[in-house]
């Protein structure tokens, strides 16, 4: 018998900002929708281990799309004459539009890096639209560790090679060779200027430091998980962010870096499964009435 993996892929047609998009996504499982947002300059393949994890898909319908311009999603017509730039509003519209088009009922959103930053924006912009939010390698702001992103897209430096070589340092030394290099492969494959364009959202268009305090975790629980080897979004960045958000839950993940779900899936699930259990328990049972004291 063919050794088939459980996820299936489809394309969704979606109009965003007056342009037609063709969004590739994969999904597996049934239950609470769990929408996964990949890192800058990569694509939804980062979640392939989560999509194949029966402990997750038994209770969650896991979905992971490729951002427009990424992976198998088609860049919109006219892409060849513009500089790609991801914006906060465009990314918010995409996530809300994708969930709406597929009829996802208050999905859980799990986002990593730029996806983790978007999770914070979702918590501010749509606090009742999601049953829980999980930010991996997420913070309200972070100090850049290379200060000239033009190196990512210029004719005399191979974009894929330099993106992969830069990102290699964000992977924990403990992560297995196979999953380390698979994580880097997607960076080496991203289209010209795409990673740089994602960083426009991450670094320029999305500063949250004076706004995260308004996130209301009583309306939507927020979990922040960051790898100890991540020097892009450091554990300290995440702790500082959480300290500004009453009720935010922080976990620092030992032996993991900036790509926990793809660089070391077996280690990451040890941290993620208890979070998903908690979200599921809260989703099944209505919140207990608060005792009078």
């Amino acid at each position: 018998m063919a050794d088939l993996e459980p996820m299936v892929g489809r394309y969704l047609r979606l109009d965003l900002g007056g342009r037609s998009h063709r969004i590739y996504f994969e999904e597996a499982g049934t239950g609470i929708p769990l929408l996964c947002l990949h890192t800058a300059g990569s694509d939804g393949r980062q979640f392939r281990h989560l999509l194949a994890d029966e402990a997750v898909t038994r209770h969650f319908r896991v979905l992971a799309f490729d951002l427009p311009w990424h992976g198998k999603s088609t860049p919109p017509p006219g892409w060849h004459d513009e500089e790609y730039r991801l914006t906060t509003q465009g990314y918010l519209d995409l996530v809300v539009g994708f969930a709406g088009a597929l009829g996802l009922d208050r999905p859980v959103v799990l986002g990593c890096s730029i996806g983790g930053k978007l999770v914070l924006h979702l918590a501010l912009a749509h606090p009742t639209g999601f049953r829980a939010l999980i930010g991996l390698e997420a913070a309200d702001e972070q100090t850049p560790w290379y200060d000239d992103t033009s190196w990512l897209h210029r004719p005399d430096v191979h974009g894929g090679e330099v993106c992969g070589a830069l990102m290699s340092g964000l992977i924990a030394p403990q992560s297995p060779s196979d999953t380390r290099w698979e994580t880097l492969w997607s960076y080496m494959q991203s289209g010209p200027g795409v990673f740089k364009g994602d960083l426009h959202f991450y670094r320029v268009d999305s500063d949250l430091h004076d706004r995260v305090g308004a996130i209301d975790t009583t309306r939507c629980p927020l979990y922040l998980l960051t790898g100890e080897y991540d020097f892009s979004c450091t554990p300290e960045d995440t702790r500082r962010t959480a300290a500004r958000i009453p009720g935010a839950r922080v976990t620092i993940m030992e032996g993991l870096g900036h790509f926990p779900m793809s660089e070391h899936p077996a280690e990451f699930r040890r941290y993620l499964l208890p979070v998903l259990d908690e979200i599921r328990a809260a989703s099944v049972a209505p919140p207990a009435p608060r005792a009078n004291r």
């Binding site: 191979h158 090679e161 340092g169 924990a172």
Partner: protein
């Protein structure tokens, strides 16, 4: 203090040509790079001469009037930590160390970034020996 930290960082760095030239994959990855770059291990300066991916010469300073394309400078203790088999967070990557201000990059970064995987692997080569 671990055995790794007990070996002087300079001694470990001076094994670089043998380590790199014995690694055919690494030499192949660097085959388009011919340059000279400076590495400082604490107060000891080295000029690393690369010809088509091979380290043809490692010169130990001090130098007075020598040119190089780019420089990587860090204290000896930082290099020792960088070369630990499982480095601590902050010492596991060149850019982790530059962000923290432990290491510094200077000069013409184009040959560095155009060959970044190669240069990072060269600088990390002493780590593998202890593996």
């Amino acid at each position: 203090v671990s055995a790794v930290l007990a070996t002087p960082a300079e001694t470990r760095f001076e094994a670089l040509p043998a380590l790199v030239n014995a690694d055919a994959g690494l030499v192949r990855r660097g085959r388009y790079l011919t340059t000279t770059f400076l590495v400082e291990v604490g107060s000891t300066a080295y000029l690393v001469h690369v010809v088509e991916g091979r380290l043809v010469r490692l010169e130990r300073g001090p130098f007075l009037m020598r040119a190089w394309a780019f420089a990587v400078r860090a204290p000896a203790e930082a290099w020792a930590r960088f070369w630990e088999p499982v480095p601590l967070p902050g010492y596991h990557d060149l850019f982790a160390m530059t962000k923290a201000g432990v290491a510094r990059l200077e000069g013409d970064l184009r040959p560095l970034l155009a060959n970044l995987r190669y240069v990072k692997d060269v600088l990390a080569a002493p780590r593998q020996r202890e593996g």
